[in-house]
Amino acid sequence: MSKSHMLALFSDFDQASEAIRDLKSSNFEGFKLDDVTLKSPIEHPEIEELLGKRPVYVRIFTFFGALFVPLLGFLFVASSQATFLLQPKGGKPVIPLPPNFVLTYEFFILGGVYMTVLGFFISAKLPMKRNKLYNARVSEDQIGILIKAEDAIMPAIKDLFTRHNPLEIMGGDN
């Protein structure tokens, strides 16, 4: 049983969400809701009601970045102060806490930001190769629904999409 992809383009979000709702209620065999991807020019958080919540792991990275990087940063600053020979400065101890806390704070932001971005790339799987079923209109004003399903049910899905007046249907022929 081989699987293939199909992309249907709709002129607006309401049409697309109707199509997805239809798809959801028609219970095809060998087809999971996870295989439906919405491609849109802007963000549509309301799609989560239909497709279910998709896991976002970015915050975990942020948490660990914001927790451990400042700790390591403090250790880094303090240990390098301790190795920089014995350099007493104008009435301050070799490891003074207020400046180190200032630097720790900067490390906190640094860790938070960097790990968030790293988490974003990992979690959103960027950079990725665009698959062939991508239409530039998706970045303009149209909504695409990309589904992955078994070849056997592909015509039925195509019929379903056709009922919702798509602008174009790509793929799903083989």
Binding site: V69, L72, L75, F76, S79, L86, Y114, L118, F121, I122
Partner: protein
């Protein structure tokens, strides 16, 4: 996969920097040399006379400070004057006809100093105090002279023309200054070298 690797690398870098905040120290085995004359040990210096250190220090067992007299009493260890060489060599007839000795006597006859070149040359803003090191490690701790001098100058007793063998970089100096050394062979008290800028930098 590549993402996971990236994340690991980031953590490893941060932790590595924090944990091992100790810089690297240059230096390597004695005698290795690259074709261009440079390697980790410093350049090969072409001297007017290829002075055979091995003959004097190893074969004859002459103390370094017999010629480098400044080492125990001042900042500079001193390269000996030509009369020091002649003082011995005019009485050693057996090597009188060797080419290097002939060269030496040519300088002597012309009344010219030998234009030795500096091998262990520090930047102008650094002053290495030979006296303190010799006094402490040679006179107080009674270590063998080849060990004391050789710590920085390498195994000169096995060289012909001297070559720089240690990095002589600031980090290399400090790596030793931060270790605890015994104050003398009888006293068990230890202390480490000074860490102030003005001890070496002028």
């Amino acid at each position: 996969m590549i993402h996971r690797l990236l994340a690991t690398l980031c953590f490893a870098f941060l932790f590595g920097t924090a944990a091992g905040a100790e810089p690297f120290v240059q230096g390597g085995p004695i005698g290795s040399q690259t074709p261009d004359g440079y390697n980790a040990l410093g350049p090969v210096v072409k001297q007017p006379i290829e002075f055979p250190h091995y003959r004097h220090a190893r074969d004859m067992g002459i103390n370094c400070m017999y010629c480098h007299t400044g080492a125990r009493r001042g900042y500079v260890s001193v390269i000996p004057r030509i009369d020091k060489c002649i003082g011995c060599h005019q009485n050693i007839e057996s090597v009188r006809n060797k080419p290097r000795i002939k060269k030496l006597f040519e300088y002597w006859d012309k009344k010219q100093p030998i234009p030795w070149k500096k091998v262990n040359d520090l930047p102008d803003y650094v002053r290495f105090n030979h006296e303190r090191h010799i006094q402490r490690f040679y006179f107080r701790q009674n270590r063998p002279v080849r060990e004391v001098c050789g710590y920085c100058h390498g195994d000169v007793a096995n060289m012909t023309v001297d070559r720089r063998v240690k990095a002589l970089s600031m980090g290399w100096c400090i790596s030793c200054h931060q270790k605890d050394h015994k104050e003398s062979d009888t006293n068990m008290k230890t202390s480490h070298g000074p860490g102030e800028c003005w001890q070496c930098h002028k």
